[in-house]
C-alpha cells in the first residue's frame, strides 16, 4: 500500500520538482560529494534535469557537471522509503554488487535526509531494452543471460531488515479483482470470460503460503532497468525491494520484454526467444526458485489484459491484436502447469 493519497503525491511531486531544479538548493545538497569525485565535482558548474517522473511518489534527477561527471538523485514522497532504499543499496554495494564484480548496482553516494533524496553514480552501459529491440542476437543473448545471472545473485543475497510481502499481497488476487471489476462494470458481457480466466488462474495458484522460500525481490525487474557494458550488468531502481517469491521478478522480466515487443509492433518470435533464454539461464542456476513461475506469468498477462481493455489510448485493431496475445500468454502459462500436473 502506498502512503498518502494520489492527490497528495501529485502535489508533492509538482512542488519538489521545482525545488530540486533550483540551482542553489541542489548545490547545497550535493556539495558534500566533492570528496567522492576527488575534486572533479564543481558545484558551481552543472546542470540539472528531471529525467523520470512517471511515478507519483518519486522523482529522478540528473546532475551533470561541466567536466562531465554525472550524479543521479532520487527523491521520495515516503519519508521512510528513501532511507531504506539507500540502506539496501549500500548493503548490496558492500556485499558483492560493487563496481568490478560484473553483476552490479550503481554506487550509492549519500543520502540527504532533509531532502529525502539519495544520490548515486550512473549505471554504465546501454539499457538492455534497447539491445533487446535492435541489437544482433549474438550480442543480445549474452546480455540476457547476464541479466538472469544478476537476478539469481540478487535473489541469493542475505539482506537484513527487508519488509516481508504478505502471502496474499504477493498473490495480487484483489489487485486483479479490482482491475477486472472496473472493466466488468462497463462491459457486463465480459464477466463470464473473466470468471473462466480466474478459474484457470486459481488452478495454477500455489497450494500454500510457504511453497517457496522468500528471497529479496527487486519488484521492477525489467530490461529497461538493466544496463549492459561488455560483460557487465548493472541494475537500477530497487525501491520496491522486499522479501517475496523470486518467480515474481522472473515473470515480470519476461512479461515486460514481450509486452514492449507487442506494443511496439516488434518481432514476437525474437521476444519469445529472448524470454526463453532468460528463463533457461535463470533455471539452470536456481530452478527451485521457479515453482510458481506459471502463476505469476498468467497473473501478469491477465492484469495487462484488464488494463488494455480499460485503456482509452489504444485503437480497436491494436487492442484486439495485443489482447489476443495476452490471452495466448495466459493460456500458455496455465496450460503449462496443467501438463506438469498431469505428468506428475
Amino acid at each position: 500500500m502506498r502512503p498518502g493519497t494520489r492527490f497528495e503525491r501529485l502535489n508533492w511531486k509538482q512542488r519538489e520538482a521545482e525545488v530540486f531544479a533550483n540551482h542553489d538548493i541542489a548545490a547545497q545538497y550535493i556539495a558534500s560529494l566533492e570528496m567522492k569525485f576527488n575534486g572533479a565535482w564543481r558545484p558551481s558548474g552543472w546542470n540539472v534535469e528531471v529525467v523520470r517522473s512517471k511515478a507519483t511518489d518519486r522523482i529522478t534527477l540528473r546532475y551533470v557537471s561541466d567536466d562531465g561527471a554525472v550524479v543521479y538523485g532520487k527523491a521520495y514522497f515516503d519519508r521512510l522509503l528513501g532511507r531504506e532504499t539507500y540502506d539496501s543499496l549500500a548493503y548490496l554495494w558492500k556485499n558483492g554488487f560493487a563496481a568490478g564484480s560484473g553483476l552490479e548496482i550503481p554506487e550509492p553516494l549519500i543520502f540527504v535526509e532533509e531532502a529525502n533524496m539519495l544520490l548515486m553514480r550512473r549505471a554504465a552501459g546501454t539499457p538492455l531494452s534497447d539491445l533487446a529491440a535492435a541489437a544482433p542476437l549474438d550480442e543480445v543473448l549474452p546480455a540476457i543471460r547476464a541479466a538472469a545471472r544478476w537476478l539469481v545473485k540478487f535473489h541469493a543475497a542475505d539482506i537484513h531488515g527487508l519488509p516481508i510481502q504478505s502471502p496474499c499481497e504477493g498473490m495480487e488476487i484483489l489487485d486483479i479483482a479490482d482491475a477486472l471489476a472496473k472493466v466488468a462494470a462497463e462491459c457486463p458481457g465480459c464477466a463470464s470470460f473473466f470468471i473462466g480466466m480466474l478459474h484457470d488462474l486459481h488452478t495454477v495458484a500455489p497450494r500454500s503460503n510457504i511453497s517457496v522460500r522468500p528471497t529479496p525481490v527487486h519488484g521492477q525487474f525489467r530490461a529497461a532497468h538493466v544496463f549492459i557494458e561488455s560483460n557487465r550488468a548493472t541494475v537500477i531502481d530497487i525501491e520496491k525491494i522486499c522479501l517475496s517469491d523470486p518467480a515474481k521478478d522472473v515473470a515480470r522480466f519476461v512479461h515486460a520484454l514481450k509486452k514492449n515487443c507487442l506494443e511496439e509492433s516488434g518481432d514476437a518470435q525474437r521476444a519469445e526467444q529472448l524470454a526463453g533464454e532468460f528463463v533457461a539461464e535463470y533455471r539452470r542456476i536456481a530452478d527451485s526458485n521457479l515453482e510458481n513461475l506459471d502463476y505469476f506469468r498468467a497473473l501478469l498477462a491477465f492484469k495487462a489484459l484488464a488494463k488494455l481493455l480499460k485503456s482509452r489510448k489504444v485503437n480497436e485493431e491494436k487492442r484486439q491484436a495485443i489482447g489476443e496475445l495476452y490471452i495466448a500468454e495466459f493460456e500458455t502459462a496455465t496450460r503449462a502447469r496443467s501438463v506438469q500436473t498431469a505428468a506428475a
Partner: protein, 356 residues
Amino acid sequence: MGATGQTTSFLTRRLALPPAPLATASFDREGLARKAADFTTPEFIGTQIVPLIRMERNGHCTNCRSNVVQNTGTGRLTLRYDFGPEDVFFAKLYSDDLGPHCHEINRALWESGFNASAYYRVPQPIGFLTDHNLLLMRCVPGIALGAAFDGHAAVDLVAGSREAAKWLAAMHRSSLTTGSPDSDWESLKLFRMATRLIKAVAVRPEKLDAIRELMNMLEKRIAKLPEPRRFVFTHGRYHHDHIFVSADAIAVIDLDRCRLSDPAKDAAEFVRVLRLTAFKEGFDMGRAENATAAFLSTYLAEIPEAAASLGCYWAAFVFHSFLGGLKQGRAKGTRSWEELMPFYVSEISRALDFSR
C-alpha cells in the same frame, strides 16, 4: 472504459465459445441422486450397510427406513438410515476423491478423544465403502444450535454459543496435523471473492465505487495479517447448523473441510453466520449480540492468539457474503435488500475494527 462496444466486439468471438467450467459450478446433482437411489434399496442396505453396522453393534439390524436428506449440488449427498431410535446412521456419498480423506479425518478426531466417552464429540465413523465412495457415520445426539432461530425451546442460543466456543477451542488445541496447510488466499476465499465481485458489478455497475472502497479497506487489513502465524486443525464450515447440543454432549458434524489453517477462520465463520441469520430472520438482535459476546469471550480466553486475525477473517467472510447478496439483490428471510445492505456494511466495519 476504453470503449465498451469495442471491448465487446474484441471478445465476441471468445464469448461465443462455451464457458469454461467454473470452480463454483454445480456438480452433477441428478447423477448423484440416481446413484443414491440404489443405496436406499433393501438389497444394498442388506449387503453393504448392515454388515458394517453389525461389525460395530454385534447385533441384528432389520427394518431400515432410508432416504436422501441433502443433495445441494456440492458434489456430496447425504443419506439417512434409520434402524430404530438408537440406531440412526448417516452416509455421505462423494463424487470426488475426498471421501477416504474425510473418513481418515473423522477417525483421527474420534480416536483423539472427540468420541462417545467425551463431552465434545464428532460423529462415530462406522466405515467407508471404497467401491461406492460412501462414508457411514452414526447419528450424533442433540438438536442443532440453529434450531434456536426457529424458537426451539430446548436450545438456548447464548449458552449454546458458549459451548460451541469450547468445542472449537478443544479442536484447535488438538495435536492433529492431517492434510496440507491451507493458504491464506484459500482460507480467506479470495478467488471466490473475486468471482463474486465480477458477477456483482456486472449486474450492479452503479455500486462499483462503494464496493471498491470496501474491498480497499479489506485489502489493507489483509496486508497486516501477522506472519508467520500458528496454524491449527480447523473445521472449515463451523456454523450453528453443524453444532448439536444436548445435556450430555456437544457434537459437530460435516468434517469435509477440516485442515490446518488459521484458527480465526472457524471463529469468524461462526460469528458471521450467526449474526446474519439472526438479522435475516428478524431474531432478537440483543440476544444475537449476547451470543456473539459469549462465543468470542469464551473462545478467545482459550485461543487468544486468534484475536490478531479474527477481524480480518470476519470482514472477509461478510464481504464475500455481501457480494453474493448484491448480485441477487433479493430479500432474504424477513429482510428486504435495502435493509440487508446497510447491515452488511456495518458488519464489515465492525469486523475491521475488531482487535485493530
